[in-house]
């Protein structure tokens, strides 16, 4: 592409200002004002009552449950996403195109529907779910396992689809050189392929974490709404809205929003760093 042309500075015209103004106004109205309102509402009785609200046992346990299930999901997702992307890019096998298409399904399926799927499959009244509970004493539905499983379903494409393009563009001459010099496939993977994939894996994982922390539709179906046991922070906010505990709902909402902000910020920083050091 011709750099001189693309770099050519365009003079701002009145039309541009209208365009710019409308876009920024739209963003402020739709995104910024609602966010400001929630911070204002949660802190309206001072920081102490905000702190008190998020430290109530039920609120605290819901935040903890959200954090650890999302973190566990993120670790599993990182490992399986890495393996999946690697297999899809590097190996040919029958049914590969089908598998590749299936990976995108969670992006299209409403999360409420995901929750229903898991309840049908693993619910205590179902064949498989009943078997797992009776024979192995392994509970999935109405237990944290179900939360992790539904989060894995929803966020699976994120890691795979961030790693795949990077792996496709990876220069393979280094790997061939290493192979010629007698390095084992595992050594090649560990010393050459993996370092190139660490940042994209991290970026995709953080993306899935930030998405998982706020998940509601799937979790409320799969985990139910049992305080102190299976109630996540988003479900807690919902139950406090229903019981009209405004301060409690706003306080935990602020925590959720802050977690997403921090994670998104780090993910963006990683992406920028990665873009600059490629």
């Amino acid at each position: 592409m011709n750099l001189a042309l693309t770099r050519r500075k365009e003079k701002s015209q009145p039309g541009d200002w209208v365009l710019r103004g409308t876009s920024i106004l739209f963003l402020v109205l739709i995104v910024i004002i609602p966010l400001v309102v929630i911070f204002q509402d949660g802190l309206r009785e001072g920081f102490d009552s905000f702190w008190y609200q998020i430290n109530l046992p039920i609120a605290r346990s819901s935040i903890n449950l959200t954090l650890w299930t999302s973190a566990l999901m993120t670790v599993i997702n990182a490992v399986m996403g890495l393996i999946t992307a690697y297999v899809l890019v590097r190996f040919e096998f029958p049914g590969k195109r089908l598998v590749n298409a299936i990976i995108d399904l969670p992006l299209a399926i409403p999360t409420l529907v995901t929750g229903i799927m898991l309840v049908i499959l693993y619910g205590p009244q179902q064949a498989l779910g009943g078997f797992l509970i009776e024979k192995l004493n392994f509970r999935i539905v109405f237990a944290p396992t179900g939360i992790v499983l539904s989060l894995l379903f929803i966020t699976f494409p994120f890691v795979v689809r961030t790693i795949q393009p990077v792996l496709e563009e990876l220069d393979r001459s280094q790997e061939r050189a290493a192979a010629t010099l007698g390095a084992s496939p595992w050594t090649i993977f560990r010393k050459i392929v993996l370092p190139a994939l660490i940042l994209p894996t991290l970026g995709g994982s953080l993306l899935s974490f930030s998405r998982a922390v706020g998940e509601f539709g799937a979790v409320v179906i799969v985990a139910g709404n049992i305080p102190l046991r299976t109630q996540t922070a988003a479900v807690y906010v919902f139950s406090q809205v229903e019981s009209e505990n405004r301060l409690g709902a706003s306080a935990v909402s602020i925590v959720l929003v802050l977690i997403s902000f921090v994670v998104l910020f780090v993910a963006n920083a990683i992406q920028k760093y990665w873009g600059a050091h490629r």
Partner: protein
């Protein structure tokens, strides 16, 4: 692509991955289909032929289509601005766009409830005009718009970045008006991206649940969307109805996304071919 001979390790990896995908994704999907059709196809179809479900679907589509149209105009505009304009605060704006992706839908609905609900300072004002936002369609529309905000923009930014500017300059040199340039040169290149972005937005809007539940309240016949219908059917233990409606909604979303994906791919292929022809 060059294929190496696969060792045992490769086959193990392939097997691990395929089994994981089957357990994680395929199993639950089959379970949903078998749950919906557990008494046969006829009861499943009959269960969702009721007027109530149709009514909820109409509400879902009304909200979703409006969101898609607004995002088509404003989302594309914002993407255009992010690529072609330089201005103060651009990187901040760029960071803000992803926020709706990470904010919990429940929190989105709740924010709007605080903003437009009975305790809000705006409420008396809206009440005087007899205009309801909370527990009514406008609020549900705003919630869906918030949740769908990033999709169109994130889809269109790379498409606009990849526009062939030489053609634009050539047309401008030859005296084409900016209107002609847009419709004859820019729009054809954007078309498949626009369709894909609209489809992603539509799928996300149709599936939205938490935000519309909190702001709309899910009143049957008034603020009940298709997802809220499914939720209520589940709570009232009308399982076949819930499963069948969930299957229909899921299948529809998957279908539109796949169709749009196929369209986009064939378009990309065409573009690649024409680019190769040009370099020859």
């Amino acid at each position: 692509m060059n294929q190496e001979k696969k060792g045992l390790g490769a086959w193990v990896l392939i097997a691990v991955m395929v089994i994981y995908v089957i357990i994680l994704i395929v199993g639950p999907i089959i379970a949903l289909a078998s749950g919906a059709f557990q008494d046969g196809v006829v009861p499943a179809v009959r269960s969702i032929s009721s007027g109530v479900f149709a009514q909820s679907l109409v509400l879902t589509l009304r909200i979703s289509v409006l969101v898609v149209v607004i995002q088509l105009l404003l989302g594309t505009m914002i993407a255009w601005m992010l690529v072609r304009h330089a201005f103060v605060g651009k990187s901040l704006l760029n960071g803000l766009i992803d926020i709706p992706f990470a904010v919990s839908p429940v929190v989105v609905g709740y924010m709007l409830l605080l903003l437009f609900g009975r305790n809000s300072p705006l409420f008396p004002l809206l009440d005087r005009w007899d205009y309801r936002v909370a527990f009514d369609t406008p609020g549900m529309f705003l919630a869906t718009l918030f949740v769908c905000f990033p999709f169109m923009i994130r889809e269109m930014v790379p498409v606009i970045q990849n526009l062939d500017r030489q053609q634009e300059f050539a047309a401008a040199t030859l005296g084409a008006s900016s209107w002609t340039r847009f419709w004859r040169i820019i729009f054809p290149q954007l078309k498949s991206g626009l369709i894909y972005g609209m489809t992603l937005t539509l799928a996300r809007a149709i599936g939205e649940f938490g935000a519309v539940l909190v702001i709309g309240g899910g009143v049957q016949g008034r603020t009940e969307t298709a997802t809220l219908f499914i939720f209520r059917a589940l709570e009232e233990r009308r399982y076949i109805e819930a499963y069948s409606a969930a299957l229909l909604l899921g299948a529809f979303s998957v279908l539109i996304v796949f169709l749009a994906d196929g369209l986009k791919r064939s378009h990309e292929k065409k573009q690649m071919i024409s680019a190769e022809v040009n370099t020859l």
